[in-house]
């Protein structure tokens, strides 16, 4: 992904009294890129998004959308970005269609009725258009919010836990839709979620925030490497001492979970060698399982142990 970024943030800072909520944050989102913004509660994700949307005033740094300074061109820029969150809704007393007419009007969308029809069909909620928002189920509400977020055909979308209340099948549809929009319209997305599987599938790159600072930034795959090596679980038939002797001879960190089940810390590429060695040592292997670290492990380690937790791995 190249060219000028849709979003460029430099040294963004937010203070609440003495508390530094966002600490000199810098990031870029390129056209068509999905950037994940992760971190434990209080890491500064929501404050960052609020500043990017102009809801909260920054104390320092610069935000640029499409190469233009956000503070100087806020009205123009807001026409081309949008936001969806499970926690930010639309007017509950009026119908979905009326809500979309209002938002379409505020964004000055041309052929707004046509756009509304397209979005309601796309999100499979056409039959709900005359229902008031408050009468919808949680999943239906999320789809209505997403329709609102797409009403102005944004170039950049900020999504804050958009799938928080969706059923798994709807989440899959949502992911497909996001992928489709990303590919067809070069839609750039800044994405926060607590669903790490979703983040792994959607995001090209992930930023981990901790205490308002970026502590890690990479692809989801590379980030999982921060947490350490894979674990090889080997179930065997025979003498435990023989297994212990072989693993000690190879200096492999291990732990017997049960009498005939051993957990071995290894790199993926050495797993086959370990298995071959065990077999050569006369150990009969009955079952194997490789557990690789996930983005969730990175998230949990960071949330529970902070930066030191990652450093220890």
């Amino acid at each position: 992904m190249s060219g000028s970024p849709y979003l460029e943030v430099k040294d963004l800072t937010k203070l609440y009294g003495q508390f530094v909520a966002v600490d000199h944050l810098s990031l870029k989102v390129q056209p068509g890129q999905v950037l994940g913004l992760l971190g434990p509660n209080g890491a500064g994700k929501t404050t960052t998004i609020q500043m990017l949307l102009g809801l909260t005033t920054q104390d320092g740094g610069q935000i640029k959308f499409f190469g233009k300074d956000f503070q100087a061109h806020q009205e123009e820029i807001l026409h081309h970005i949008n936001f969806a969150s499970a926690y930010s809704e639309i007017q509950g007393k009026i119908t979905i269609e009326q809500n979309l007419i209002i938002y379409g009007g505020l964004y000055k969308v041309k052929n707004v009725k046509q756009r509304i029809k397209y979005l309601l069909d796309l999100l499979e909620i056409s039959h709900l258009k005359d229902m008031t928002y408050w009468k919808l189920s949680a999943g239906q509400k999320t789809r209505a919010i997403l329709a609102k977020a797409l009403i102005n055909s944004p170039k950049m979308l900020l999504l804050d836990e958009p799938t928080a209340s969706l059923d798994p099948d709807i989440i899959l549809k949502f992911i497909d839709l996001i992928k489709k929009l990303q590919e067809e319209e070069s839609l750039a997305i800044l994405y926060t979620s607590h669903n790490m599987e979703e983040v792994t599938r959607i995001c090209d790159e992930v930023i981990f925030l901790y205490d308002g600072k970026i502590v890690a930034q990479d692809t989801p795959l590379n980030l999982t490497k921060l947490i350490g090596d894979s674990t090889l679980l080997v179930t065997f038939d025979g003498d435990q001492d023989k297994v212990k002797k072989y693993l000690n001879s190879q200096n492999l960190e291990h732990k017997f979970v049960r009498k005939h089940l051993v957990k071995i810390v290894s790199k993926d590429e050495t797993a086959s060698g370990i298995l071959f060695g065990l077999k050569e040592a006369g150990i009969w292997i009955t079952d194997i399982d490789i557990q690789r670290p996930t983005l969730e492990d990175v998230f949990v380690t960071l949330s529970r142990k902070g930066l030191d937790g990652l450093a220890q791995n």
Binding site: G54, T56, Y87, E89, I145
Partner: protein
């Protein structure tokens, strides 16, 4: 200020009004009940030594009061409905500006107030034979003064909602009643104890009501007082605008504006 977006806010308010039984009650039901109750009261009082002129001013005063209340109510409760819906941030991440939102709600409030005042006038005329419009074109000046003062009150009360959130939501429909005893709607300012009359003299509505009463009693309108009331209303509007702006910018800085819904 973008007129297109202001019109969209008026449409938004109209959609909401169509679906909200609560708003129907606040805007239609209560004013009508009041005009009927005060109509009967005026009918009884008109038989007393107070005479028809005084009792007519009671009804006219009530209608003006309700008009000003509806303007203030529409803006403050209009904001509250979006706080209750968790939709305020969704509105303000669009190009919509706070000034456009408030002005749209204000115009929508004015439309509701004019329509409702017309209905109240009809009710008082048909049911009790009192026509508050007999005071002539001065109606327009009274309306302008109260619309400006209502706007100032709207901004002040909305600023409290933005500053303190739903903790002070009842102020949206209740705070204005603090002014009622000093507004000279049902009795002249002279009826108040001397030491508290200064409050009434600080309110543009009291000058309007005194002038309305004078006209109903056959005297000319109090033009000098009305001019003072107009200037006072404009000053209040400017002060409340400056105050609101400060509160709004502070709320954006402290992050409380974005958290208003939670």
């Amino acid at each position: 200020m973008d007129w297109h977006r202001t019109k969209i806010v008026i449409l938004y308010s109209y959609y909401h009004f169509r679906h909200s039984m609560e708003t129907w009650f606040d805007i239609i039901w209560f004013p009508l009940i009041k005009v009927i109750t005060f109509g009967f009261l005026a009918f009884v009082l008109s038989k007393s030594e107070l005479g028809i002129g005084y009792t007519q001013s009671l009804i006219t005063g009530l209608i003006y009061w309700e008009m000003m209340r509806l303007v203030q109510y529409s803006v403050a409760v209009g904001v509250l409905w979006d706080v209750w819906s968790d939709s305020l941030t969704s509105l303000f991440i669009t190009p919509l500006k706070m000034s456009e939102f408030l002005f749209g709600q204000y115009l929508s409030g004015l439309i509701k107030a004019i329509l409702m005042s017309a209905v109240m006038v009809l009710f008082s005329w048909i049911l009790f034979g009192y026509n508050p419009l007999t005071i002539g074109l001065m109606v327009v000046l009274y309306f302008i003064i109260l619309a400006i003062f209502g706007g100032a009150l709207s901004l002040f009360i909305t600023s409290l909602i933005i500053r303190f959130g739903t903790n002070v939501q009842s102020m949206a429909w209740g705070l204005i009643y603090l002014l009622q005893p000093f507004s000279a709607i049902f009795y002249p300012v002279e009826a108040l104890p001397q030491f508290i009359r200064w409050v009434a003299y600080g309110l543009p509505i009291s000058y309007v009501m005194e002038s309305v009463r004078a006209q109903h009693l056959g005297y000319p309108p109090r033009m000098n007082d009305l001019l003072s009331a107009l200037i006072m209303a404009i000053i209040y509007l400017i002060l409340s605008f400056v105050w609101f702006r400060k509160i709004y910018l502070d709320a954006k800085k402290s992050g409380s504006f974005a958290r208003l819904e939670m």
